[in-house]
């Protein structure tokens, strides 16, 4: 059996393809979305999901989120006794998803299709595959998230010879991709995005506006107050997103403050964020050489795409209304399930070959002749231009500036700015040039970029045939086979709580978060609830514990909605 997994930055989902339709599977708490957060308990047990997310506040040292951003790097996070690589943290999330799938489907899945962002480099893709293997599942294929979105909408089957624009606005990232669909091939034509722009920024914008309207400072808020404001702003965002008026009422220093926001105000508040979404869309369209009219469909996915502002922006830029999925935060997972279904039946998708593009321009720094004996230095001259399909190899010819010059220094940069120094320096290469006049001493510089994200720079002096080489690795986060085996064994040894205990653990984690956020009497009240529930747990009477848990959750709900004091 093959499962489809959406391994997201903020949330992850799992499902299967059954009876001609994707079916997502709920976690131990009955939810489809499992927060991509990992936490380690005092006794070394691993917590994943809602409980771990609550522990980000109560136990920040032992919890970690957003590790998808580090995939492909060797950045380690220390949690308790052990340091974890990004793929290991992802493996723990996948393992928890597999547990959920096992309960829902009756047996443990052996194979999976996992979605990855279109711009993921080969190193990041390999890390994702490794995460699957560390979790004990064979990764049958990685599917690009925009492709998964197209599958969720059934576009790959419906359209032929067509371009589709996919806008994916998640909690913390905004990805724009253009797909070319033809003859069962899905080609990622161009991708662009903003890695630090998502729905959370819109919530923050509401908070900031609320604070400034009441002349309050964010630093003056106690953790409990900040958390309450965050929840109210989040709720208000949901109403505002669908064009309703919302009231944000919260307490600061025991005093109630309230502010009513309507659509017009909201639009003003988030205008700078909407403006930031404009550039990636324009860039992707321009790189693909398309106009709004050339697109067969515009589709939106990601939880934050519920916001009207995104569809309005798309309509203004492209002159057409985008399609919206009923459940935008489940769309990618649905697509991954469809891919898993196709894979299981050995059909159609086998024909879909995903081709990758190089996300940045790569080139060297050059000097320009301005005439009248003047030169301007430090210009960036791209050799491989961004969004070239990889692997790719390109050559350009360069000359020394002065007749008496005996070496050329090639400074290799990655980026899009016309000024070399504003781009990322990757390395440099010295090339000896023979004596002679400038014009007879050309050097051919060849850039070769392979699917592994390795850039090879080769400089050949035309006159002497001397060749100098430079290998530049990007995001090298590979593990040796031995190390991978060792880590697999270690990971397998990590304990998690039995599934039927997980709702208790989650309830307790939430209570602990509220304890951490509150002060004084509030805090003592929460402490009382915790002690009471721990006593109930000690009885090991399942029915009694379940009743007590419901009572605890109700008390916590009341506590969270009630004003402090």
């Amino acid at each position: 059996m093959i499962v489809g997994i959406d391994l997201g930055t903020t949330h992850s989902l799992v499902g299967v393809y059954e009876d001609g339709a994707p079916r997502l599977v709920p976690n131990a708490l009955g939810k489809l979305l499992t927060p991509s957060v990992v936490s380690v308990g005092e006794d070394g047990t691993i917590l994943v999901g809602d409980a771990a997310r609550d522990r980000l506040i109560s136990h920040p040292q032992a919890s970690v989120a957003s590790f998808k951003r580090w995939m492909g790097s060797r950045r380690e996070t220390r949690l308790g006794q052990r340091a974890y690589l990004p793929e290991e943290l992802s493996a723990l999330v996948i393992r928890s998803l597999l547990d959920d799938a096992e309960v829902a489907l009756g047996r443990r899945p052996q194979e999976a299709v996992i979605s990855v962002p279109a711009y993921f480099s080969d190193a990041q893709r390999r890390a994702t595959r490794r995460a699957g293997e560390l979790a004990g599942v064979r990764v049958e294929r990685l599917i690009n998230e925009p492709t998964a979105a197209a599958l969720a909408y059934g576009l790959a089957q419906k359209l032929d010879d067509a371009h589709v624009l996919v806008l994916d606005l998640g909690g913390g990232t905004f990805d724009v991709s253009i797909l070319e669909l033809f003859d069962g091939v899905v080609k990622v034509h161009a991708s662009a995005g903003d890695n630090y722009l998502g729905g959370d920024d819109f919530t923050e914008a509401i908070e900031k506006h609320w604070l400034s309207e009441h002349k309050l400072r964010a630093e003056a808020l106690k953790p409990f107050e900040a958390s309450q404001l965050r929840q109210r702003a989040e709720a208000a965002k949901r109403s505002l997103a669908i064009g309703q008026t919302a009231e944000v009422a919260s307490h600061v220093g025991g005093k109630p403050y309230s502010l009513t926001l309507d659509e017009g105000v909201f639009e003003q508040i988030v205008a700078p964020l909407v403006m930031r979404m404009r550039a990636p869309i324009e860039r992707a369209m321009r790189d693909a050489g398309l106009r709004g009219g050339d697109l067969a469909e515009v589709v939106m996915v990601g939880g934050a795409s519920r916001m009207q502002q995104l569809s309005k922006l798309a309509a203004r830029l492209l002159g057409r209304l985008p399609l919206r999925h009923v459940a935008p935060d489940e769309a990618i997972a649905h697509g991954a399930c469809v891919a898993a279904g196709l894979k299981a039946r050995d059909e159609a998708l086998e024909e879909i070959i995903l081709t990758d593009v190089c996300p940045h321009s790569l080139g060297v720094a050059v000097s320009m002749d301005l005439g009248q004996g003047m030169r301007s230095h430090g210009h960036f001259d791209p050799i491989i231009e961004r969004n070239c399909t990889v692997p790719v190899s390109r050559v350009r010819e360069y000359f020394p500036v002065h007749d008496q010059q005996n070496t050329i220094t090639l400074r290799v940069y990655q980026g899009e700015n016309p000024w070399a120094e504003n781009n990322i320096a990757l390395g440099e290469l010295e090339v000896p040039v023979p004596p002679g006049t400038t014009q007879e001493r050309g050097v051919d510089v060849r850039f070769t970029y392979d699917i592994n994200g390795v850039l090879q720079v080769e400089a050949r002096v035309q006159k002497t045939g001397i060749v100098r080489e430079l290998l530049l690795m990007q995001g090298d986060g590979g593990l040796s086979e031995e190390e991978a085996r060792k880590r697999l064994a270690e990971l397998a040894g990590l304990k998690t709580h039995p599934r039927d205990e997980q709702p208790n653990i989650a309830a307790l984690a939430r209570a602990e978060r509220l304890y951490a956020e509150s002060l004084g009497d509030e805090r003592r009240h929460v402490q009382g609830l915790i002690v009471e529930f721990q006593a109930a747990l000690a009885t090991q009477d399942k029915a009694f514990v379940a009743r007590q848990r419901d009572a605890l959750l109700q008390a916590l709900d009341q506590h969270e909605t009630r004003s402090p004091l």
Binding site: F182, D183, G184, V185, R278, E282, M285, R286, A288, G289, R291, G292, G293, L313, R316, L317, E351, I353, T355, S361, A365, V366, S367, M368, D369, L370, M374, R375, S376, H377, G378, H379, F380, D381, E385, V390, P391, V392, S393, R396, E397, Y398, F399, P400, V401, H402, T407, I408, T409, L410, R411, E416, N417, P418, W419, A420, T438, Q439, D450, I451
Partner: protein, 277 residues
């Protein structure tokens, strides 16, 4: 030894884009990137070249539905766009002469409009802002301009804005900050900067400013190592990017340049007070 793109794809030279896509799709199944990177690149290069060629052909002989002029009514200027092989840009207005950066005395007639957007009034509003307002205001005005949300209009407009600006440069004397606001708004990056429809006007607008900069004594300390690499003088390539150096023109920087004036005023004031005592 050299196979043509058509040989690699196994199709006729006159094939249309649909046939080219089909051929590419069929051959992709035998040369997958992970199995044979070299064959994959050959195939993809051939595909991209063939698609570019098909596009050029359809531009040369406007077919029933392929010509850009019939495709996009809201685009104000519709001449023939110069399709460049390695740059898949949407047709940028109309191609400028790649070798004519020096503007003639009388500007070209600004493109007229058929569909609600008039270039003339737009440009004069733009000129007013360049004359009277700072770059920050200019950028905000462009960002908020309701008509410029449309990508088609924005791109069609881009070469005309820079071209007309180059023609009127002596009159408007655009500040470097204004140029930066414009290139920033239109998203002119290293790649777009080379486009034949943009390079001449931008070269003209920017070159004068670099000359001043290079000639200025403060800029004589060139960054280390950049002096020993020259760009080709090979004219087969499109004009190389000639961007300009961002220069600080904030008030803080100006004050920093004239700190001694403030210092002098302070000293004189103290001295005056001392003497009057």
């Amino acid at each position: 030894m050299t196979q043509s793109a058509w040989d690699i794809l196994g199709i006729e030279e006159s094939a249309d884009s649909r046939t080219i896509r089909r051929a590419y799709a069929a051959r992709l199944k035998t040369s997958r990137p992970e199995d044979d990177p070299a064959a994959f690149q050959r195939l993809t290069d051939a595909y991209e070249w063939a698609m570019g060629d098909a596009r050029r052909r359809s531009l040369e002989s406007p077919g029933p539905a392929q010509a850009p002029s019939t495709e996009a009514p809201p685009v104000p200027p519709t001449g023939q766009a110069e399709a460049t092989q390695d740059m898949a840009l949407p047709e940028l207005g109309r191609a400028l002469e790649p070798s004519g950066p020096v503007p003639s005395a009388d500007p070209e007639p600004p493109p007229s409009d058929d569909d609600g957007f008039a270039f003339g009034p737009f440009f004069s509003a733009l000129a007013d802002r360049i004359r009277e307002r700072d770059p920050k205001h200019l950028r905000r005005w462009l960002d908020e301009h309701p008509d410029l949300y449309s990508l088609e209009l924005k791109w069609a407009l881009m070469p005309h804005v820079f071209d007309t600006l180059a023609h009127n440069a002596s009159m408007l004397d655009p500040h470097r900050g204004h140029l930066e606001a414009l290139t920033g708004f239109f998203g002119v990056d290293a790649r777009l900067r080379r486009h034949p429809a943009l390079a001449p006007a931008l070269d003209f607008l920017e070159r004068a400013q670099w000359r001043q900069e290079v000639a200025a004594p403060s800029a004589s300390s060139m960054p280390k190592g950049w002096e020993n690499l020259a760009n080709v003088l090979d004219d087969s390539r499109q004009g190389p990017p000639r961007p300009r150096k961002p220069i600080q023109t904030t008030w803080a920087a100006r004050i920093a340049d004239y700190w001694w004036v403030l210092f002098l005023i302070l000293i004189l004031g103290k001295l005056g007070r001392f003497l009057s005592q």
